[in-house]
Symmetry: C2
Subunit: 482 residues, 2 copies
Amino acid sequence: MDPVFPFAIVLPVRGEGALAHELHQQLRAAILDGRLAAGSQLPATRRVAAALRVARNTVVTAYDLLVAEGYAIPRTGAKATVANVAARRPVRQRRVAQRLEDPRLNPTWRTPFMSGSGTSRAARGFQLGEPEHRYFPHDIWRRLSAHALRGWAKGPFTHPESEGIAPLREAIAQHTAFSRAVACTKDDVVVTGGAQQAFDLLARLLITSNRTKVAVEEPGYPPLRAALIAAGGQLVPIPVDDEGLRVEQLPSDVRIVCVTPSHQFPSGAALSLRRRMMLLDFARSRDAVIIEDDYDGEFRYGGRPLDALQTLDRDALVFYVGTFSKSLFPSLRKGFVVVPPWARSALIALKQRADWHCDPITQLTLAAFIRDGHLARYVRRMQSIYAARREALLDGLRIDLGKWLQPIPSLAGLHLAARIVARERAAAVTARVRRHAPGMQPISDYSLAPPERPALVFGYGAIEASDIRATTQRLRRALQSL
Amino acid sequence: MDPVFPFAIVLPVRGEGALAHELHQQLRAAILDGRLAAGSQLPATRRVAAALRVARNTVVTAYDLLVAEGYAIPRTGAKATVANVAARRPVRQRRVAQRLEDPRLNPTWRTPFMSGSGTSRAARGFQLGEPEHRYFPHDIWRRLSAHALRGWAKGPFTHPESEGIAPLREAIAQHTAFSRAVACTKDDVVVTGGAQQAFDLLARLLITSNRTKVAVEEPGYPPLRAALIAAGGQLVPIPVDDEGLRVEQLPSDVRIVCVTPSHQFPSGAALSLRRRMMLLDFARSRDAVIIEDDYDGEFRYGGRPLDALQTLDRDALVFYVGTFSKSLFPSLRKGFVVVPPWARSALIALKQRADWHCDPITQLTLAAFIRDGHLARYVRRMQSIYAARREALLDGLRIDLGKWLQPIPSLAGLHLAARIVARERAAAVTARVRRHAPGMQPISDYSLAPPERPALVFGYGAIEASDIRATTQRLRRALQSL
């Protein structure tokens, strides 16, 4: 066959009308993707008809359609040439690229996820949410991971359970019961892709879009707020003080209360027992539920820890969210929910719809890491390291910066907040501190409204004690010249 | 201090009213979690007052509150005893456990995720969606994984990009451009937790709950439908025939069209070029978008493959969803979207809200696996293995079962569908086949309405050629006795 086109045309055996249409479509596709180059001549209809064994009129019809649509340009007394459609393409792409508020898109992405310098990956030092990596037993993790891969290689390629593999749920239940007195068995645990997926799934599970009111702490954790907003939740910011969430300010029509009782994010305050009981009373009497985010409660410095809300709850109203992002590392992407029995199957169903399940190799590795005692050992070790950093930060705040900053009492976690003493100079103090203590974030970064009492938040997960003190000393000199 | 309680009570320095309330709350918490045993006597108010250094009246008030709430039972002439609140607990838990249609829950979980025997993990043999595991180069994967872990151990514990790490997006773009002629660079790729997360994110991105009409193939893929329904999509089932989706039946108000053009799930038909162009025309003229699910198009058996819809699209209307679940293994949980530029930042924002990012170790491992050519080699190898199985199945259907079953033409993928010739005996034939060919599923398992033409679907991903033929021979005998 005479190769009239630089590609194959395959036509079905049919009436000529359908053939013309098919030929037109295939030629148009070839023009669109450049197989028929712009400016080149279309082969003579007679040649095409002979090569494809169709009536010449079929080819004429197809060409006419191409011309009518602008894919080919007729030339008087000559063959039609292929139009330069590629030239049109970038224009169109530019146009759509600019439609960021495209009506076809849900507007959820317009809420910030992380605020302030938290979005920048370059910031280090006092960066929040970044634990230390230098003491992590990488060799053990690598060994357990290889072991998991070898075990997994023996079986067929099936999907594991959406709620998490049983050995991991078992390990999480034991660890959480032991370290946080959370009452649970493996059947209460659902493994998630980090705490973030837990928030996202719970938001979707519990929120009716544009109707459900959700109380969040003010200041609070922006990624949680972003997930709640994405699910259509109507946020009600509730202030926090040194006893944590001001429970008495909860409006009665709130259906979900999100709270960080062991270590308020980001102020660091612990929710007092009085408020814990008030909150449980509120939930019971108002038919509300509680999302308890225990993101770094494993690291505690003195003082008897208060029971988790989940521990005190007798009405199955608390969804307890735990994570290994602080105790191990954030990119592990493993968190979990201890879920009340009435919501369990729905949560698992939603996890299945969201991404079916978490990857089994990491689940097996983490299960072995917990089961063999490595997690408990590592947390103990890191606790003493973080305790020294916290001491250095408290010393620095007191000795070097006492004139400007006043720490907010806090007995847990990987960060500390400090109020700015001279409120009227808050902006200047913040700017100086930000310059000399990279990673530090003003509490306003976590607030929906400008905070009544300006404060600064210092993470000490990824900065050594000696660097902390050196920084506060530098800061002292910088602030003195204010 | 006289230990009047078997635990510490810590009271703030305040007015007596607040103290009574605090004491009441702490005692109630102790009763609730069993630290004060049911039936035991509360210590004398005088002793408690002395031990805690509060007025006796404070203790009396706290006790009165406990009695009023039923946590303590007054005894005439004796000390009050602790009520058996634990006994109340199981009753309450049972009650809530039964509230499966609890109004606090979104009803999304009520849709089935996988239908028919697909939900059972025991089924093997002709099971759909399960690729072969015996030839997977586990040693290479383990080596690349260990290498990824060692590299990752060197840096701090930060979050990688939500859209996927650059080396993986680069590898995916190259691989997809090469194997599927999809026009993309790494900047068009967003890595997801399997195709399922891609569906879920796209559903949430593009659907306005209870308003957006979404066309789905009938029969089609139940987990996709489940994700669309979870996002509030109004499904419009569109029938498929041997040319794939019957595009001409799309109602004009459909905003999203979900389609499996290379290998219709589950019928196996390819969407004809004519219909592809019609579909793109439809989307352009109706301002609709297309979700192209290319779940197993990498395995092709003869015939020139048709271009992907994404390749033909000049209006940035196609979201191309790819996955490594079939070409590698499903529990890898890695898929991706080639996303039009106008929707890219919104999709990444939603991925961030959903679970922040996929785990970097698996991403690094997969990136190296693709970059070093292992994926292409493995797909080539498996293609010849699957081709032999497909031949065995086609032989078996023709030689052994031609009287009862008629294969639906199909040139790709890991499964084949066959129509039941004698429609009136469909139920009996299905039952026999199901008994002798475990894993086989009737096409009705994937249909929203009873299918016009009953058919059976056979996966050949996880069954050897010899077993396939042995099964069809057994089946022949079983069907002859019908």
